[in-house]
């Protein structure tokens, strides 16, 4: 836990004599790694998250528990069992999400099997796509002081709309895809507009309304899935029709790699959001109202309008996330569609400190954890839910930079602050 203890020479040269030459770059670089800036805090949070995961594995796996019991009589054996279990688990996390050294070695030596070598990283990008879209949406809300926990509902709304347009409209590939994308955004926007207008008009707090809407949309989906025209004809199961090829996002590479145009769309949306929040007039208004509503009002900004717009835009982006999995990889809807993506969007937005670039990096990390987690579950029987625990621990620490500073003994730095604003119930 004390990996980042400061080297002694650093503290000695911390305050140079007046007029002394600035410290050489490598010393500054070394110092940077020991201060609580964004990158170091995030890194420490990830390390600690994985550490908690390791403890959970050790205390819940029968083999390691048995080994632990024998630690007095055969310590060498016990430790080797524990470390091999952990090694296998984290190896599987890595192999399942980044690459498998043996597959890459095989591809290099034989010149074949490149697709297999790239499958894990492609799957990570596939999982990251909805997280980037939804996380960006939630982040835009956060920076305006609006807490959108309705990701799950908005994602389902977007996916439902995209599915209707997918099987209901017959057009060539490009115009059809454009329509599907717009439908996804529109579906999510409607689901975001509801809490927006309720908050602006009646003061109903968006945290409660969006959570309730999650359950409402889950049930709405359950209804639609067993009702024509959405239900797959001739099926008694709760499964929707499958969208045709013209409504599917094309793969970026051949060889069965599933990473698709949706990933590029997600990166594009994140870039656009970054521009919007940094340079756009509306984005500026959003930020001002988030930081200080009274100042915004004094400057003539309409906080109610901003709340409605922010939740609508936020919902539209989350709706795109639903569209991206539907047209990118799944092609049909089923009960509980979207899984944890809606909630993970919140943690990703927190991890990325509400900046689109941060959201992209956070999404890639979380996607790697869950892709690796699926491989872990398949290969070692350790449940996938482990990764959700790891993710939550990471976000606990990211939300509490002061705690990270204490655990890892980092020096204070101005950049470690998160710019987040949530408001009490009355606002």
């Amino acid at each position: 836990m004390t990996t980042a203890a400061a080297p002694p020479e650093e503290t000695l040269s911390e305050q140079g004599a007046p007029g002394a030459a600035p410290p050489p770059w490598w010393l500054r670089a070394l110092r940077w790694t020991a201060e609580a800036n964004v990158a170091v805090v995030s890194f420490c949070a990830i390390v600690f998250g994985l550490f908690v995961g390791a403890i959970l594995i050790v205390v819940t796996t029968p083999a390691t528990l048995t080994a632990w019991g024998q630690i007095g009589s055969a310590p060498g054996h016990s430790l080797s069992v524990i470390f091999s279990t952990l090694g296998n688990a984290f190896g599987a996390l890595f192999t399942g999400s980044i690459f498998s050294p043996s597959a890459v070695g095989h591809a290099i030596s034989t010149g074949q099997g490149w697709a297999a070598a790239f499958t894990p990283i492609s799957e990570t990008m596939v999982s990251a796509t909805p997280l980037i879209l939804a996380g960006t949406g939630v982040a835009i809300g956060f920076s305006t002081g609006v807490f959108n926990i309705g990701g799950q509902g908005q994602l389902i709304a977007g996916a439902i709309a995209a599915t209707y347009v997918g099987f209901g409209v017959h057009l060539p590939l490009v115009p059809h895809l454009v329509l599907v994308v717009l439908a996804g955004a529109a579906g999510g926007a409607v689901a975001g507009f509801i809490p927006g207008i309720l908050k602006a008009r009646t003061g109903a707090h968006e945290v409660i309304v969006t959570i309730m809407l999650n359950y409402i949309f889950l049930n709405l989906l359950n209804y639609l899935l067993v009702t024509p025209p959405l239900q797959q004809p001739g099926q008694s199961n709760a499964i929707s029709r499958t969208v045709p090829a013209s409504a599917r996002l094309p793969h970026l590479f051949g060889g069965g790699l599933r990473v698709n145009v949706g990933f590029l769309v997600a990166l594009g949306v994140a870039a656009a959001a970054a521009w919007f929040m940094k340079r756009g007039t509306l984005g500026f208004e959003f930020k001002v109202i988030g930081a200080n509503p009274s100042a915004g009002r004094t400057a003539g900004m309409d906080a109610s309008k901003a709340t409605i717009l922010v939740l609508t835009i936020s919902g539209a982006l989350v709706g795109l996330a639903g569209m991206s999995t539907l047209s990118g990889t799944d092609f049909f809807l089923s009960s509980g569609y979207g899984g944890n993506n809606g909630f993970n969007a919140i943690t990703v937005a927190l991890l990325g400190r509400n900046r689109p670039l941060g959201v992209v990096l956070g999404s890639l990390l979380f996607a790697a954890l869950s892709t690796g987690g699926r491989y872990l579950q398949a290969n070692t029987n350790i449940p996938l839910d482990l990764t959700q625990v790891i993710q939550a621990v990471i976000v606990f620490l990211v939300a509490t930079p002061a705690l990270v500073r204490e655990i890892f003994r980092l020096r204070e730095a101005g950049a470690g602050k998160i710019l987040l604003f949530t408001k009490g119930w009355g606002a």
Binding site: N219, L350, V395
Partner: protein, 428 residues
């Protein structure tokens, strides 16, 4: 960092009061008139004139009452007249005073007609429906009281859902492993306390955003209980996840009262516990020095500190106690009724409890009223599903959530929470 915003409307509101405008009162009146129209058209004219509905009004310990048999059409029309009268009164008078009572009476009358309509040509066990209302409301009361404890000291506890899950999990596991149900209750309380302490630790010591920490606690508890269920409970189902449940116990004599006896006085310890806790929290908050201090800390921590109250200690204590209460409420999910933990079994009720706390204006008995309302909507949807009224079951399942939104936006509106609720405190 939380930003407390004072809108002009907050300034005219009475302390802890709702802002009830006459426009809102007229809206309630119009809504009741619409309900009356539905009652006449759908429940009155829409059924055969000879259709009858039977409500069962008695359960074992109570003195038996004959079932109530009603001609659906005429009862609906008579009730519609009452409902329309109440609506018209609200529309004409348009005064806030008593408007909620009038509105509540109108909605009650509507629900009576709805039940008669749903049970046409059939039998509804009304007695059991009321009993289930109380059972469904019980965890919500615990959750809402937990919220009251925390927020009346100035800390937003949005993690109730997570504390429910933790309490339900550990309650089931310990109750099953030891075979002692009371150990399960204690374990649930401990689980809740742990996450209350975590919230307090991160929010008070490090000034982390309380809403964010709360949401992440929910994510953490969901992930952890899912993980442990698959990894630990499922392989040892028989020993670790098969607790018995508290069986109902009657209070002598009182449980003989017709209709209300079995509902109120033939329940399990969790229901009685909620009732006791309700009174304890109410008295403690509003009649004791401790409660005065907590409320002072939630309204103006700086002033409280000035007169010698240790703000952070008060907050730590309240948040951890709140966790204990939510954890016990969580245990009621497993060792109170179902007797087994399953993944995500609380299904968002922790958030519904939060809504109940807000609707109850941060007061224990207000929260009880809201919890009973939500509990009734949960019980209503399950009984309508059994009566097979032709409404698809997903729509029935939506009912509690739709009612929560309707209540939070239509009836509650802008509320006034404790002034320093959610604001980190530090001595300068």
């Amino acid at each position: 960092m939380s930003v407390v915003e004072l809108a002009p409307s907050d300034l005219v509101a009475a302390p802890e009061g709702r802002v009830v405008t006459s426009a809102r009162v007229r809206g309630m009146g119009a809504f009741l008139l619409a309900l009356a129209a539905i009652m006449v058209l759908a429940f009155g004219a829409g059924v055969p004139s000879d259709a009858k509905a039977t409500f069962l009004l008695s359960a074992p310990p109570a003195i038996g009452l004959a079932p109530l048999v009603m001609p659906v059409r005429w009862v609906s029309i008579a009730l519609a007249v009452v409902c329309a009268g109440l609506g018209a009164a609200l529309l004409v008078r348009a005064r806030p005073r008593g408007s909620y009572l009038t509105f509540g009476a109108g909605v009650t009358v509507f629900i009576w007609a709805l039940l008669a309509w749903a049970a046409r040509g059939n039998t509804l066990n009304f007695e059991q429906m009321l009993a289930e209302t109380l059972v469904s409301a019980t965890p919500l009361v615990y959750g809402a009281l937990s919220g009251v404890m925390c927020e009346r000291s100035g800390v937003v506890n949005i993690a109730i859902e997570g504390q429910f899950l933790a309490g339900a999990f550990l309650g089931a596991m310990i109750g099953s492993a030891t075979g002692v149900l009371w150990a399960g209750v204690v374990a649930g309380a401990v689980a809740g306390a742990i996450f209350g302490a975590l919230l307090a630790f991160l929010a008070l010591r490090y000034g982390a955003d309380q809403i964010i920490v709360g949401v992440v606690i929910v994510a953490f508890c969901t992930g952890l209980t899912n993980f442990l269920t698959e990894q630990v409970l499922t392989p040892y189902q028989a020993t670790l996840n098969s607790p018995s449940t508290f069986s109902p116990a009657g209070i002598p004599l009182l449980d003989k009262i017709p209709i209300l006896g079995p509902v109120l006085f033939y329940q399990n310890v969790f229901v009685y516990g909620a009732a006791v806790l309700l009174v304890v929290v109410q008295v403690a908050l509003f009649q004791t020095r401790w409660g005065l201090r907590a409320r002072a800390v939630s309204e103006h921590p700086r002033a409280a500190e000035t007169v010698g109250i240790h703000v952070l200690s008060v907050r730590y204590r309240n948040v951890i106690l709140g966790g204990v209460i939510a954890g016990i409420g969580g245990a009621s999910f497993t060792i109170g009724s179902i007797g087994e933990f399953s993944a995500d079994m609380t299904a968002g009720l922790g958030y519904v409890a939060l809504a109940a706390m807000i609707f109850g204006r941060w007061r224990p008995f207000g929260a009880l009223g809201a919890a009973l309302l939500f509990g009734f909507s949960i019980s209503l949807q399950s009984f309508l599903a059994v009566l097979n009224v032709g409404i698809p079951s997903p729509f029935l399942s939506m009912t509690p959530y739709v009612i929560t939104i309707a209540v939070v936006s239509g009836l509650v509106g802008r509320v006034r929470p404790p002034a320093a609720d959610g604001v980190p405190y530090s001595r300068e």
